[in-house]
């Protein structure tokens, strides 16, 4: 069981890191700089290109673990969050196809602008709804007994907290990606490099400038509206440390940019994102949904499938890991060499 939970945790984490960078790149394209637009797109393509198809697999892996290992949990979330999940799916379809079309369309003409537009806006849309769903799970406005349509299917996500989390995720991911892109831009030369580096630096500043106030509002909102996950934050030393460290890293980032040690940026960004994820996940566990007002509790342990299933799932996951990793590492390696050469 612990193993399955660990893999679930890791796959969600990897999805956040890898797909998060994809989403962020898309969001940043909305705020493209005026000059060198094609270079900016090319940079995104290069950063995402060979691995982006593989990125979605982390989501699918998490999904399969959920419905095989924790079927009750999967069911409840699918029923109550039907609308935001549908919104996520629509976004995934649009951004996935738009990105592919932009990359592979044999004839490069005006349609490129359409693909880019779809890609950028649907990235924002998808990230927002993922954030809303996460927020809805953290707030946990679920009911044991079925109530009216609004309370059952709308209220859980249409409320201040989830929507704030939606916006927060958008700003957070665009911030992290902007820091990535500063490093990527330094592989260019001359005027393009200076322009792009400066551009992404400013994007990073704007995003974090918005993310910090939203984060503050989320915390105070959660505190005043007595949202369990948020109240727990303050009793939970581990989570506080994670979030604290993540904020302190902001300063380090500032220093690194000042000193022009740009290759560190990536690692700092990943660490920040990971710390936030770890803190939130630790705070939520072992419950997915925890609501004392409606007496609705959904814990991983209690909604787990029978042992025989979990055992088989463990075996499957081990086999999968052993088979997948060598080629995956190889792909990453040749891709990395390519970046270094460039």
């Amino acid at each position: 069981m612990t193993f399955v939970l660990a893999v679930l945790f890791i796959s969600l984490w990897l999805y956040l890191i890898f797909a998060g960078a994809d989403f962020g790149a898309g969001i940043l394209e909305i705020f493209k700089g005026k000059k060198f637009q094609r270079e900016q797109e090319a940079l995104v393509n290069k950063a995402m290109g060979p691995v982006w198809e593989a990125n979605h697999i982390w989501l699918i892996l998490a999904l399969v673990i959920l419905f095989v290992g924790f079927p009750k949990l999967f069911k409840e979330v699918c029923i109550v969050l039907h609308i935001p999940i549908t919104a996520i799916l629509i976004g995934i379809v649009f951004r996935g196809s738009a990105f592919t079309f932009r990359h592979y369309d044999a004839i490069k003409d005006k349609s490129q602008n359409w693909y880019s537009g779809f890609f950028a806006w649907s990235s924002l849309w998808t990230t927002f709804w993922i954030g809303v769903s996460v927020g809805a799970i953290m707030e946990g406005h679920f009911y044991v007994e079925k109530v009216d349509f609004f309370q059952t299917y709308i209220r859980p996500w249409l409320s201040g907290f989830p929507i704030l989390v939606g916006f927060f995720l958008c700003t957070l991911l665009s911030y992290i990606t902007a820091t990535f892109m500063v490093a990527e831009a330094s592989s260019k030369e001359g005027e393009v490099r200076d322009y792009l580096k400066d551009l992404y630096k400013r994007r990073a500043q704007y995003s974090i400038g918005v993310a910090i106030p939203i984060g503050a509002v989320i915390i105070s909102y959660g505190y005043f509206y007595n949202i369990y996950s948020l109240n727990e934050f303050f009793n939970n030393t581990f989570t506080l440390i994670c979030l604290g460290l993540s904020s302190i890293l902001l300063l380090l980032q500032y220093v690194v940019i000042k000193k022009n040690q740009l290759h560190f940026l990536k690692y700092i960004g990943v660490t920040q994102l990971s710390l936030i994820f770890l803190g939130v996940a630790y705070n939520q566990f072992p419950f997915l949904i925890h609501n004392e007002q409606t007496h609705y509790f959904l814990s991983f342990y209690r909604s787990a499938a029978p042992d025989a299933v979990i055992d088989q799932l463990v075996i499957a996951l081990i086999i999968v890991t052993v088979i997948i990793f060598p080629p995956y590492i190889y792909l990453m390696k040749i891709f990395k060499e390519e970046t270094i050469k460039a």
Binding site: P50, K75, A305, I334
Partner: protein, 435 residues
């Protein structure tokens, strides 16, 4: 609209869309691998061009297939949460392995796409081969999950308390239907996708464009089409015998066979009337249904009358879909035999009419795939898990599914049009000509 019907329409549309991309994603890599091997052997630049052209196609179809597949795995939960709650733990194994195979496919496709001149040629070729192997594997696994819905096994079910116990995920994966269904599906994918490729290149040959290049393309795809189309009737026969044993009401619906009969005759064509339990028009071939179902002309074939009305599948749709599938399968068999005859006679070039036939057949394979899938899905109704859970019991309590169904249909039509347009542009660029 009724929520159940809307959910079925939405699921059906999503699958109908995805199945085409999944088939292409399985087969195109095999063609690409084969053409790449030819290039390595002969160093003929045209094969390299062909490989790269097909590779672009694979990348587009794979990406769209990946997206629509992601959608489907969520839709299972969004539309049928009660089904997933109980079925998830039981038939989750093939899903896990399918996910793994898909992941492998994505990784190797990444290596192949970006590996030209970067990876040693041998490894590069192997990665192309691995794309096609893992594509086929994921096809087998996902069909095995579907087969479990037709032939549920690996658990005990109490119909009174509705409790599922003694779950054995491995037994569920290797259910009675998996082998015959997976074989049928893989052959269908190869047959349908390779004839589509052959058809498009034949059209270009007929137009007199890049004759040498397009003929080479046809030559590479042809063996895949011939072998799969020649084997498919055998696999179909096995499937029919299998269904006669396991799901007699599905067989009866496919055949519009209302009355139980000894020495039953096979119905070709015909318009079934479900109210009056009769069939208008159609040709009956005596004893053939008994022979095909049980290998014995005197065998008794159960009619729909044996089953309670509320447990009978619809008849009209499965029957018509079955006619379409078998019709196209037979046509492909005849075309393959004729082509083989020409090859054996050492004809150096095919007659123009054969290219015409190929070109006309371009969409037919996919039509047969859709029809066959309709037969197995609609023919299983009203059950989602055969004899265990009804589709209506699986439905989400969420309301207004009609809206989302309409929206998704619109989305898929839009995507379909876009992909076709993109494909047209690919051909235009690579062949330097408008179709």
């Amino acid at each position: 609209m009724d929520n159940l019907l809307a959910a079925r329409i939405q699921m059906g549309t999503s699958l109908a869309f995805h199945i085409i991309f999944a088939c292409i994603g399985m087969v195109m890599p095999a063609l690409m691998t084969s053409s790449y091997a030819k290039y390595i052997r002969t160093r003929d630049e045209e094969y390299l061009r062909l490989t790269k052209m097909w590779m672009k196609g694979v990348a587009i179809f794979f990406a769209v297939g990946a997206v629509s597949g992601t959608l489907l795995s969520f839709e299972l939960g969004l539309l049928w949460p009660n089904f997933m709650e109980h079925a998830g733990p039981i038939f989750g194994m093939p899903f896990s392995y399918e996910g793994a195979a898909f992941f492998l496919e994505a990784i190797f496709l990444g290596i192949f796409l970006y590996g030209f001149d970067r990876v040693p040629e041998k490894i590069h070729w192997i990665s192309s081969l691995m794309v096609s192997i893992s594509g086929v594997l994921s096809g087998i696994f996902i069909t095995s999950a579907n087969a479990w819905m037709n032939s549920p096994s690996g658990f005990k079910f109490d119909p009174v308390t509705k409790i599922y116990s003694d779950i054995d995920p491995i037994a569920a994966m290797f259910n009675d239907a998996w082998a015959s269904q997976a074989t049928h599906m893989i052959l269908a994918a190869f047959s349908a996708s390779s004839i589509a490729v052959i058809g498009i290149h034949s059209l270009l040959v007929l137009k007199g464009i890049n004759l040498d290049f397009n003929k080479k393309a046809i030559k590479i795809a042809l063996p895949f089409f011939l072998v799969s189309s020649l084997l498919q009737p055998l696999s179909g026969d096995l499937s029919a015998k299998d269904i006669a044993q396991r799901q007699p009401e599905k067989l009866a619906a496919m055949e519009a066979h209302f009355k139980t009969e000894k020495g039953a005759s096979l119905l070709i064509g015909g318009l079934p009337n479900e109210e009056e339990e009769t069939v208008e028009w159609g040709i009956k071939i005596p004893y053939l249904l008994s022979i095909l179902s049980f290998g014995d002309p005197q065998a008794v074939v159960k009619g729909l009358e044996e089953f309670p009305k509320e447990e009978r599948p619809p008849v009209l749709i499965p029957h018509l879909a079955f006619q379409i599938m078998v019709g196209i399968g037979t046509l492909f068999l005849l075309i393959s035999l004729y082509t083989l005859f020409l090859i054996v006679r050492k004809k150096t070039s095919f007659p123009r009419n054969l290219y015409r036939i190929f070109a006309l057949c371009t969409p037919l394979g996919f039509l047969a795939v859709e029809a066959g899938w309709t037969v197995t899905e609609v023919g299983r109704q009203p059950w989602i898990i055969y004899k265990v859970m009804k589709t209506s019991e699986a439905l989400t309590p969420m309301e207004g599914i009609g809206y989302s169904a309409f929206f998704f249909i619109f989305l898929y039509v839009f995507l379909g049009v876009l992909v076709t347009w993109l494909f047209y542009r690919q051909v235009k660029k690579y062949q330097g000509y408008k179709l």
